[in-house]
């Protein structure tokens, strides 16, 4: 009985580990709800230079590993002249989104970094 309990625990642990690995779980910031970019839409115009300077400075301060694995950068607007910049970083098949949100005066008011999902190439 003792052994069965022991093996049962092992089995549970093993299955949990399998689930974690195969579903790509990791001990990282959870996906925020609501989506921090809810209400924003893609922005195709020229960004204010203050925003450009700020997000480029943010990128410069990323770790070398993050810096080297930036997949793409995109800009957004919410219709009230608030802008956002999203920096997508892919690290070991984990997708990290860094969202920088700016107010109408182009000052950064929020920085959100979270795992949005995973990839398998």
């Amino acid at each position: 009985m003792k052994n069965m309990t022991k093996y049962s625990n092992y089995f549970g642990f093993a299955l949990a580990l399998c689930v974690m690995i195969l579903s790509g779980c990791s001990c990282s910031a959870p996906k925020p709800t609501p989506d921090p970019l809810a209400g924003f839409h893609p922005y195709y115009k020229i960004l204010n230079q203050s925003i450009v300077t700020d997000y480029q400075d943010y990128i410069q301060k990323l770790s070398p590993k993050e810096h080297n694995n930036i997949a793409y950068i995109e800009s957004f607007e919410d219709g009230t002249a608030q802008h956002a910049v999203e920096i997508m970083i892919e690290l070991n098949h984990t997708n990290w989104r860094h969202i920088l949100i700016y107010d109408k005066d182009n000052k950064r008011i929020k920085t959100i970094k979270y795992v949005s999902g995973h990839s398998a190439s």
Binding site: C18, P42, A120, S121
Partner: protein, 671 residues
């Protein structure tokens, strides 16, 4: 101990976890392919030129969204799993294409641990070539956990979906709608490029499941690991683009599989190898090429398996594709330094690929038992030399084909001219795609000053419109406000069943045809056979594409051309014209001040359809400091068009050296 066993068992039975090239490798392949296409594909460059007011080609810090950004994004996102992409699901289960599979598994992934045959995903061509392609409902393994489960998925980033986005990107009323759809179109094209690129990963064309998220536990892909670790130093090729027309490709499937190689012999592999890299009629689809020339990590030489084994593929063959027969009896022949990350670490015995298609050294390495018992010939590809050589061969191929795929997507091109009179415009729209149009409609749109796009007129195509033939569209000019016009064709181009009725061609439509060589990337010398912005081709020698933005030296815009690059060169383009109509060809020219040091007065000839219109020979004592100092002149010639396309040529004449006539602001105006 038991726990380890259980974990291993679970993982071994856990179904699908497929990996092709790593995402960073895809991003790099795609970026290089886009750059190659921009240099070699006038169709792609023309498309970018036409949409430039809505969507730029390159990202800038203050404008990160661009064509290249979206293509690379697509190439990256094709690998999303279901937690990132609930619609597409576990996308990479659909990233396999086995060209030799003739079973009901239909060329898709059907290798489930431990190498048992089980349908897991649909093949990558089908996933990428059908509108909203429906994925295979894979229930997963190990009830009740259903590892690898992938059900109710579909692909909204397929090739036909890209065409849908393109249509809206060209015709939607509001600029933001057009931009959003162009963004989606480029992303979808990038996702299809990813699928094609994965066919250069041997495991993806030899139905070889791999489970990389398990790390070193089981079935890790050494190919992916090596590419990932060496992405910054991979060989991305010579910047060339697959000549799919020269190779006889007529449909999207040809990029994957032309069905020339069926495994019965190596003839198709050899025929392909004798023609590459430039392409010829024996050029294989990428999946065929990779399947027959490379080994997977477990699906190795044909001699190791029974023909009904899931791991069996007829080529490469250890006995006929490599120097095994010589090496197995004289091991010294195969001895080479074993190169690890920190340098040479002893020696190992390698088999070189010597036949049956591509040849290259170190296709595989004898493992310990192989070296001990060479007549068994046990080998591995998990070796730095082997994987380095693999990547040296298949990554340039991925770039080349991926660039060709971009050219294929944007192959629909139009040349248009418009002649005004007081009541109406008569427009001649010519198919310059190199393939026939059929079952389609031509549309002319106008943008107002707020970039609102409205339909001016449309004309159905009756029957077929062959290449270099045109149709006439007539409409009242009273309805126009800006004359900022674009012409779009939607219908069939060529005979690709994937695109029936949804192919698109686009071109700007101007009252006066004008070209000032804008939208260059960097100052560069362009050699014969390559193109310049706005549809120009270098016919001989080379020319310099020069940006004068910094000191304002261009006559018009920011860019101009020096007709002498390192040597005299000539450029030409085709412009739509009305036969019998009189035109004035105008342009600006100046002396390259460097010619003064060479004591040369540069000359250039101007020709229309091969007939000499005149020669210019600027002899000013000028300099580069300002536009005024460069002392631009203008000239014009009148001629009567004799054909629907007039071939305009500007060529350096009797001018040696690297300093020729500078050319800008070429225009063609109906008289």
């Amino acid at each position: 101990m038991k726990a380890k066993f259980i974990i291993t068992l679970c993982l071994a039975l856990s179904g699908a976890d497929s990996f092709g090239h790593d995402q960073n490798v895809h991003r790099a392949i795609t970026a290089n392919a886009e750059a190659s296409a921009y240099v070699h594909s006038s169709a792609y460059a023309d498309f970018l030129n036409t949409i430039s007011s809505d969507f730029p080609r390159l990202s800038q810090p203050n404008q990160p969204r661009s064509a290249t950004n979206s293509i690379i994004k697509g190439s990256n996102n094709e690998d999303f799993k279901q937690d990132e992409d609930p619609i597409g699901g576990y996308r990479s289960l659909n990233h396999f294409y086995d060209p030799l599979d003739t079973t009901t598994y239909d060329k898709g992934l059907s290798d489930s641990p431990p190498d048992r045959r089980e349908m897991v995903g649909i093949n990558s061509f089908k996933w990428g070539s059908v509108s909203n392609s429906v994925g295979y409902n894979f229930p997963g393994d190990i009830w009740p956990l259903n590892f690898g489960r992938n059900v109710n998925t579909s692909n909204i980033w397929s090739w036909p979906n890209a065409r849908g986005y393109e249509w809206l990107g060209l015709t939607a009323t509001n600029q933001i709608q057009r931009q959003t759809n162009l963004d989606n179109m480029f992303r979808a094209v990038g996702q299809v490029m990813h699928l094609l690129e994965d066919t250069t990963q041997p495991q993806h064309v030899r139905n070889e499941q791999h489970l990389d998220s398990l790390g070193k536990i089981a079935w890790e892909s050494p190919i992916e690991d090596w590419g990932n670790a060496n992405v910054a130093n991979l060989n991305y090729g010579d910047g060339s683009m697959l000549d799919w027309r020269g190779a006889g490709f007529t449909k999207l499937e040809d990029f994957w599989d032309r069905h020339l190689y069926n495994g019965s012999s190596s003839a198709a592999l050899n025929a392909d190898n004798n023609e590459n890299p430039n392409g010829g009629l024996n050029t294989l689809g990428l999946a065929e090429w990779c399947n027959g020339n490379f080994l997977g990590a477990r699906h190795l030489y044909a001699e190791y398996y029974q023909t009904n084994d899931i791991r069996y593929y007829p080529y490469p063959s250890r006995n006929t594709s490599t120097d095994y027969k010589q090496t197995s009896v004289n091991l010294a022949l195969g001895i080479q330094p074993l190169i690890l990350k920190n340098g040479p670490q002893g020696q190992a015995i390698y088999l070189n690929k010597t036949g049956d298609g591509v040849t290259f050294p170190d296709q595989s390495r004898f493992d310990y038992f192989g070296a001990k018992f060479p007549h068994f010939g046990m080998i591995t590809i998990n070796d730095n030399n082997v994987l380095s050589n693999y990547h040296n061969v298949f990554i340039p191929k991925a770039v080349q084909y991926s660039a060709g795929l971009l050219d294929y997507f944007f192959r629909g091109t139009l040349a248009s001219t418009i002649i005004s009179n007081t009541l109406q415009y008569t427009t001649l729209v010519i198919n310059t795609s190199g393939q026939s149009f059929s079952n389609g409609t031509f549309y002319i749109y106008e943008d107002d000053t707020n970039a609102v796009r409205t339909l001016v007129t449309q004309t159905n195509l009756s029957g077929t419109l062959a290449n270099n033939n045109g149709i006439t569209m007539i409409f009242s000019n009273a309805t126009l406000s800006t004359n900022n016009l674009v012409v779009v064709y939607q219908g069939t181009i060529g005979t690709d069943p994937v695109e029936s009725g949804i192919s698109l061609a686009v071109g700007a439509l101007n009252l006066v045809w004008h070209s000032s060589f804008e939208f260059g990337a960097v100052n560069s010398t362009i050699e014969a056979g390559n193109h310049l912005p706005e549809g120009w081709v270098v016919d001989f020698g080379d020319v310099d594409l020069v940006v004068g933005a910094a000191d304002g030296t261009a006559y018009d815009g920011n860019w101009f051309v020096d007709l002498n690059g390192w040597v005299p060169g000539g450029i030409s383009t085709d412009v739509a014209t009305i036969p019998g109509q009189s035109y004035t060809l105008g342009f600006a020219y100046a002396r390259n001040p460097g010619s003064q040091d060479e004591d040369i007065v540069p000359q250039a000839q101007i020709l229309a359809n091969g007939n000499l219109l005149g020669t210019v020979a600027p002899d000013d004592m000028n300099d580069w400091d300002t536009r005024a100092d460069l002392d631009w002149h203008t000239a014009s010639y009148v001629f009567t068009a004799t054909s629907a396309l007039t071939h305009l040529t500007f060529q350096s004449f009797d001018t040696d050296g690297a300093s020729g006539v500078l050319l800008d602001a070429v225009s063609l105006t109906p008289n």
